[in-house]
Amino acid sequence: MSNDVDNSLNDKEQVNPRRQFLGWSAAIAGLAIAPGVTLFDLAHGRPADEPASSKIRWGMLIDSTKCASGCDDCVSACGKENGFSGMSETDSQWIRKIELKDLRTGNSHSLPMMCQHCENPPCVDVCPTGASFKRADGIVLVDRHICIGCRYCMMACPYKARSFVHQEIENQNPDVPRGKGCVEACTLCVQRIDNDLQPACVEACSSKAMLFGDLNDPNSEISKRIATSATTQVRADLNLNVGIRYQGI
């Protein structure tokens, strides 16, 4: 027994450089079995080097009967994730709370309103530079590298979803670059979706009034809910086929 221990110690002392090299290569080979295949799960629904696919259409279902009046968890979570405080009048607003009131009955309820991520987005139609675009998985975005800040898209949007950045911005979230002179809107927290997380507002909603998921997948929770209960698209008359649906309005 003691001999064995001694031998192993001796081995350790006289490490052959070639053997060491072999050991290292084995370790590296263990980490990456083949290109794109690793032993460790990187917690991605989609590998980082794979583009977003049109097989998925991201959407959201908002149950306004659950949405608490006066609660702004979603709004503040959005500001925290994307880097605006909502303190100044000209600050961007990617999501806002709306109170709906029926004057006849006095019934009132509350809901969050943001970019509806249309299938046929008017903002993309009017953009003169191609900065406004729809990603393959249905998320409507602004490419700030191309945006010239003309604000046509703000005029075109029926949901008042877009904001213009008027002032210089500092201390951005490294995942959410934002700067003066560009139009911006809800990105469905694309930086989080690409890392297999839910949008910040959905995660923050304490009354579970927001449900995020893939509208193209018949087995997703959101598809099942939409198939079984009555949901509404805001301004359905415009035929934009929005990705955000509401329940109870």
């Binding site: 989609r46 980082a48 080097d49 794979e50 583009p51 977003a52 702004d72 709004v75 503040s76 979570a77 500001g79 925290k80 880097g83 405080s85 909502g86 303190m87 806002r96 709370k97 709306i98 109170e99 709906l100 009131k101 029926d102 004057l103 006849r104 009955t105 309103m113 675009f133 990603r135 393959a136 998985d137 975005l141 490419d143 700030r144 590298h145 210089e168 911005i169 201390n171 951005q172 979230n173 490294p174 995942d175 670059p177 934002r178 700067g179 003066k180 560009c182 694309v190 690409d194 890392n195």
Partner: protein, 178 residues
């Protein structure tokens, strides 16, 4: 008095010597170029390169000096439009690695990006939108308190409470007086 021919001879010899001296000087300059680049005490404010956090860059230094902007531009289009989020050529990773240990930023007089860009007189506008500091382990907005609101702006608590209320749109349906 010196004859014209002799004068011409003298000038030729002087010109030859001058050319030789120039050649030698230029060889010496090329040889010491690398050494000069690292010092910022000279007359010309040369770029400084704060030590990065990683072992080595994704490509060799000579390639990166000439082509980093192409790598970044290609990667930005892939990321924004297609959602490809590999880390090798992402600006976020450049910043994470190259941020100066003193200022934790790639900007500033001795910042990795800015010092070289100002030396080369090339506008650097990445950081008008992109963060020039790596993502902190703590919530990125140090000025934000738990509510996600900018805190401690010198407001009295009552005033702050008032300004914190989210502007709520009032929309009336069906029975609206319109």
């Amino acid at each position: 008095m010196v004859s014209l021919a002799k004068l011409r001879d003298m000038l030729t010899w002087q010109r030859g010597a001058a050319i030789a001296a120039l050649l030698m000087a230029s060889v010496a300059a090329v040889a010491s170029a690398d050494a000069h680049e690292e010092s910022s005490s000279g007359r010309v404010p040369v770029p400084v390169h704060p030590e990065g956090k990683g072992d080595k860059c994704v490509r060799d230094t000579a390639y990166m000096r000439r082509h980093h902007m192409e790598l970044l531009k290609h990667h930005r289009d892939e990321t924004v439009h297609k959602g490809i989020r590999t880390t090798e050529f992402s600006l976020k990773n450049c910043v994470a690695c190259h941020a100066s240990k003193d200022t934790n930023s790639v900007l500033g007089k001795n910042g990795f990006c800015q010092s070289c860009h100002s030396y080369a007189a090339v506008t650097l506008d990445c950081f008008e939108c992109h963060a020039s500091k790596p993502k902190a382990a703590t919530p990125f907005h140090s000025a934000l308190n738990q509510d996600g609101r900018a805190g401690d702006g010198g407001l009295a608590s009552g005033e702050r409470q008032e300004s914190q209320t989210t502007p709520v749109e009032q929309i009336t349906t069906s029975g609206a007086s319109k």
